[in-house]
C-alpha cells in the first residue's frame, strides 16, 4: 500500500497565513520621533470639560471621604472605627497592605523587566512607576490614620529629645517605617531619572508655566554623551538596587504579622508569600491602569497595544500560580502540623460566617486567572483582561482581609472570639485613598509625559526584522 504524502507546499502556505503582521508590535512599527513627541504632548495637554469635572469630583471625594472622615475620627476618637477587642487591626491595615502591594508594580515592571531586558516593558514603565509612587503615598497615610493620635507621629523619628523616648530598632514596626520611607524616596527618584530626557522634550515644545516647570525639571538636559552616560549609569544602579529594597518592603510588612504570637500569622514563608501576592496585585493593577489610559488619553492606542496586555496577562497567570503554591503550602502545613486553635481557625475561615471572603479570595486569585488567562485571544482582548485584573485585585484585598481581621477574631480563647464589622468611617477613608490615588494619577497624566518616548525610540532603533530561512524574525541589537 502506497503511503500518502502530505504536499509540503500546502503546509508552508498554511503557516504563512498564520504568520502575524510584524507591525502589530510597537517595536517593529516605528514612527518618526517628532511624530511620537507630538502624540505624547497632545495626550498630555489636551483636556476636556469632562476631565475637569472628574478631577473636581475626585478632589471633593478626597476632601470629604478621606480628610473629612479622618478629621472627624481624630476629633471624636478611634471608637468611630470598628476596631475593638479582639480585632485591633481592621480595614486600615488591610488597605495599607493592599496599597503597599500595588506599589510593587512599578519596581517589578520597570526594574526587574529592565534588568532582564524584556522589551515589551518600554512604553509603560512610567505608568507603572507612577503607580508605585502614588500607591505608596496612599499606603503611607495608613500608619498615621491607624495611629489615632496622629499629632505625635514624630515620636517614631529617632532624635535626642527631652522625653527620653527612642524608637525600638528591634521592632518590625520601626523597620517598616524605615523600609517604606526608603522605598517611597527611591521609587520617586527612580520615576524622575528616566523622566529627565522626556521633560527636556516637553520643555522644547511648551510655553508659559509649563515651559518654566519643565525647564526646571530638565536640569538643563541637552542630550550630550556625558549626560546620557550619567543618566544610564544612575538608572542601572537604581534598577539593581531598588529590587532588593522592593523585596525588603513587603517582607518587612509581612514580619509585622509573622513576628507576633498570633495564631495563623507565625509563619516562615510569610515574606515570600506576601511578595508574590504584592507582585500579582501590582501587575494586575498595571493592566487596569493601561486599559484606562488607552481608552481615555489621546494617541495611546499606538503606544499601548494588545501585545502588552498579552505579555502582562501571562505574567499575571504565572504569579497567580506562584501565589496558589504559597497559599497551598501555608494551608497544608498549618492543617497537618498546627495545633487545635490553628485547625479551628482554618475551619472558621472556610466555613464560618465570613467564609464567603475566603472563597472570594480563591475564586478571584486562582479560578478566574487560571480559567481565562491561558487563552491568548482573551489576553489580547483589552476589556476582558481589564475585568480579570479588577477581579484579581478584589481577590487580593479579600486575602488581606482574611489574614488580618478574620484571623485576629478567632484566637486562642473562644470566650474572646469576635466578629469584625468595618464601620462607615473606615470604608469612607479606604474609598478616600482610592480617590486620592486616581486623582493624583489624573493630574500627573496632564503634567508629565506618561510614555517614555526616548525609551520607545531606543527600542524601535534596536529592533529589526531579519530574514531567517523562509521567514522574517525580529532581532534586537544592543545600542547602549
Amino acid at each position: 500500500m502506497a503511503a500518502e504524502v502530505k504536499p509540503y507546499q500546502r503546509v508552508y502556505k498554511q503557516s504563512e497565513a498564520e504568520e502575524e503582521d510584524p507591525r502589530q508590535h510597537l517595536m517593529l512599527d516605528p514612527r518618526p520621533r517628532e511624530e511620537m513627541n507630538h502624540m505624547v504632548m497632545e495626550a498630555m495637554t489636551t483636556t476636556s470639560r469632562r476631565y475637569w469635572i472628574i478631577v473636581g469630583a475626585l478632589a471633593v471625594a478626597v476632601a470629604v471621604l478621606l480628610f473629612g472622615a479622618w478629621g472627624n475620627m481624630i476629633f471624636t476618637g478611634m471608637g468611630m472605627a470598628g476596631i475593638r477587642r479582639p480585632v485591633f487591626w481592621g480595614v486600615f491595615i488591610v488597605t495599607f497592605v493592599f496599597w503597599i502591594g500595588i506599589s510593587h508594580a512599578g519596581t517589578f515592571v520597570s526594574a526587574i523587566l529592565r534588568v532582564f531586558k524584556a522589551e515589551f516593558r518600554r512604553p509603560f514603565t512610567r505608568a507603572a512607576e507612577l503607580m508605585t509612587t502614588f500607591g505608596l503615598a496612599a499606603g503611607a497615610l495608613y500608619p498615621l490614620i491607624h495611629l489615632g493620635r496622629v499629632w505625635v507621629f514624630y515620636w517614631m523619628i529617632p532624635y535626642p529629645n527631652s522625653r527620653w523616648l527612642w524608637p525600638n530598632f528591634r521592632s518590625a514596626l520601626v523597620w517598616d517605617f524605615l523600609a517604606i520611607t526608603t522605598y517611597l524616596l527611591s521609587s520617586t527618584i527612580y520615576l524622575y531619572l528616566p523622566l529627565i530626557p522626556d521633560v527636556a522634550m516637553a520643555r522644547d515644545r511648551s510655553t508659559g508655566w509649563r515651559h518654566t516647570l519643565y525647564k526646571l525639571l530638565a536640569l538643563g538636559f541637552r542630550g550630550t554623551e556625558a549626560e546620557w552616560t550619567r543618566i544610564r549609569k544612575a538608572i542601572n544602579i537604581f534598577a539593581f538596587a531598588i529590587i532588593p529594597v522592593m523585596f525588603s518592603v513587603h517582607t518587612i510588612v509581612s514580619w509585622d504579622f509573622a513576628s507576633t504570637k498570633v495564631v495563623g500569622w507565625q509563619s516562615t514563608i510569610f515574606g515570600p508569600y506576601f511578595i508574590i501576592g504584592a507582585i500579582l496585585s501590582g501587575v494586575s493593577a498595571v493592566i487596569t491602569i493601561l486599559f484606562v489610559l488607552r481608552y481615555t488619553l489621546k494617541n495611546m492606542d499606538y503606544f499601548i497595544r494588545e501585545e502588552h496586555f498579552d505579555a502582562l496577562g501571562l505574567l499575571v497567570l504565572i504569579f497567580s500560580m506562584a501565589w496558589a503554591y504559597f497559599f497551598y503550602n501555608e494551608y497544608l502545613l498549618h492543617w497537618y502540623g498546627g495545633g487545635t486553635v490553628l485547625k479551628q481557625l482554618l475551619t472558621l475561615h472556610a466555613s464560618g460566617p465570613s467564609a464567603w471572603v475566603w472563597y472570594l479570595m480563591l475564586a478571584c486569585n486562582v479560578a478566574v486567572p487560571w480559567l481565562t488567562l491561558w487563552n491568548k485571544k482573551l489576553r489580547r482582548t483589552p476589556w476582558a483582561i481589564f475585568i480579570v485584573s479588577i477581579l484579581i485585585n478584589v481577590g487580593m484585598y479579600a486575602e488581606r482581609y482574611t489574614i488580618i481581621p478574620l484571623t485576629l477574631g478567632h484566637q486562642r480563647f473562644p470566650f474572646d472570639w469576635g466578629e469584625y464589622t468595618p464601620r462607615l468611617t473606615e470604608i469612607s477613608i479606604a474609598l478616600g485613598t482610592l480617590c486620592l490615588f486616581v486623582l493624583l494619577y489624573l493630574l500627573a497624566s496632564r503634567l508629565i509625559p506618561l510614555i517614555p518616548v526616548w525609551e520607545v525610540q531606543e527600542g524601535q532603533e534596536s529592533h529589526r526584522l531579519r530574514k531567517v530561512g523562509k521567514t522574517q524574525v525580529p532581532s534586537v541589537s544592543e545600542l547602549e
Binding site: 528591634r170 523597620w175 524605615l178 523600609a179 522644547d204 515644545r205 554623551e225 544612575a234 544602579i237 537604581f238
Partner: protein, 175 residues
Amino acid sequence: MPEDPVHIALFEEDRIDHAAEALDRLRALGIRDKDMSVLSGVPYSDKILGRPMAWTRVPIIALAGAGVGFAASLALILIANRQYPLVVGGFPYVAIPTIIPVTFELTMLGLLISTFLGVFVEMISPTYGPKAYHPKISDGYIGIVFTCPPKLDQPMHAALTELGAELVHQSEVQP
C-alpha cells in the same frame, strides 16, 4: 583672543552612519575630540560614534553614599541604644539579626539618594567644551556641536553638507 565660533551639524535620526563619518572628517580637519560634542535624543554608545569614552563619578558618589548610610545606621543602633537603653522581652540592646534590616535599609537609602545627588550635581555643574543646543535634538536629530576656526569654515562646510548635515552656524541657543 576671541574664542572660535560654535556650530551645530544636525543629522536626521536614521543617519547615524553619516554622523559618525562627519566626526571623522572633522577630526581630519584638525578639530580635536575635546572641541566636539554629540547631542542625541536617544543614548548611543561611544563605540557607535567612535568617540572617546564618556565617564561619570556617579558610581563612586553612590558607593560613598552607601558607606554614609551604613555608618549612620550603625550610629543609630549602637551608639543611640546605649544612650537610650530600652529593654524589651529580655533581648540584648544590640543583636545582629535585628541590626540587619536597619543597616540594609539605611545603606540602600544612602546609595540611592547619593546616586541621585551625583546626577544632580553633575548636571548643574559647569561643563567644558562647546555649549549649544537645538530643539530638533529632542525630535530625534543627532547633533554634532563643535568649535571651528574661521579659516576652516569652507572645508568644514563642504565636508558636512556632502554628508547631508543641516548646519546651524555660530549657535548660542541654550536649553
